[in-house]
Symmetry: C2
Subunit: 196 residues, 2 copies
DNA sequence: TTTTGAAGTTAACAAAAGATAATTAATGAT
DNA sequence: ATCATTAATTATCTTTTGTTAACTTCAAAA
């Protein structure tokens, strides 16, 4: 029996899937749910797993030596989520991935996926696309650290992520921007008074 | 006639090349030289080209609206260099790529390379590797902006790039770290006095 | 050798950010 | 509806950074 939602999701991943590989991918993709505050991936985890978020919101955060949490990323609907430590660096995840809202996702074992991909040139194109997109995001963010002030960085973030702003605490946004929550609060005030 | 240096270079790119594709790549790769201060790629350029640096040092810098140059990256020997604007974002390069020393590189037309890669599954693995490496660098740098202070960031940079430190002006390093040259100078002084 | 210019440091001041704590606002649980 | 928590703001103070300009070093060019 065919699950059309799955197909829709996987379509994003690979636009040129042949029906065979599509089937394998569909069968290996499992639908999973997480309630608010639940972790998709825990610090220390090594299992190679990839999630496609269909609903909800997830943050990645790290526990620093000083004893506080720093949020490094926020994932929303239709995004691919994975621990880059595990997948790219081949080491235990330094980050926790925590659902900020009730979240639904498709879960695929990365090793299996790599195996399928390695035998399918079209899928490799798709994977390239995914890597490129992650890379684009990273580079965009890097530019903002080098070229913009924290205030400009915040304004850009709001502009680029108007939907996220109202769904997550500002302290997480502050972390993403590389500043403290107190400083973000001041920046926000500064922006308001400037407008007048 | 076979150019062994070319092969050695290309070997890094693709460890599983078959002899046919290897030949095509070798024939399309041209050896190019740049003297100090010469640009490999100019702002506004749109030609898709990739360089493998075999000798020398190159910086990417952008001319900001305020009228100053900000150095965003430094490429050294055995690194793949390309304008990410052109290759990834499909837009004219915002950055100039300037040789900081007399530089030698292999030059390959990216479109041709893509064409060759798209027909060779082994090469796609190699390309994945390249994307992964660029991604790793970006993520590593991003972490440093989120998790470290400018001073810690500088210390990490020195640790990770001991060879670059003595080859480029500090003002470029300051840009890479997202701070001003004056501030970097103070940080360096602070580090020295701390040690005593 | 002298000169010229760029890089690096230092100084002085203003602006911004970090740290800590108190206060207020908002949220969720009972 | 009240209470308890957590987030956000504000205040105060310290530290750091940005800005501008002067000064010093150093290296390359004349």
């Amino acid at each position: 029996m065919i699950d059309f939602e799955k197909i829709k999701i996987l379509y994003q991943f690979g636009k040129n899937l042949n029906s065979n590989d599509l089937k394998v991918l569909i069968n290996s993709a499992k639908k999973v749910s997480f309630s608010t505050n639940e972790n998709l991936i825990n610090e220390g985890e090594t299992k190679k797993e990839i999630y496609f978020i269909t609903k909800g919101l997830v943050r990645a955060y790290i526990n620093t030596e000083k004893g506080d949490e720093i949020t490094s990323e926020i994932y929303q609907e239709n995004k691919v989520l994975a621990s880059k430590d595990i997948i790219l660096f081949n080491r235990p995840s330094r980050f926790n991935f925590e659902a900020l809202e009730d979240t639904q996702a498709y879960f695929i074992d990365f090793s299996l996926m790599e195996q399928i991909i390695s035998n399918n040139i079209k899928l490799q194109e798709s994977r390239k696309q995914i890597y490129q997109n992650i890379l684009k995001d990273s580079l965009f963010r890097l530019d903002s650290f080098i070229l913009l002030t924290p205030e400009e960085r915040y304004l850009e973030f709001v502009k680029e992520n108007p939907n996220i702003i109202n769904r997550v605490p500002n302290k997480y946004i502050a972390n993403l921007l590389g500043i403290t929550p107190v400083s973000l609060s001041r920046i926000r005030k500064r922006i308001v008074t400037k407008k007048k």
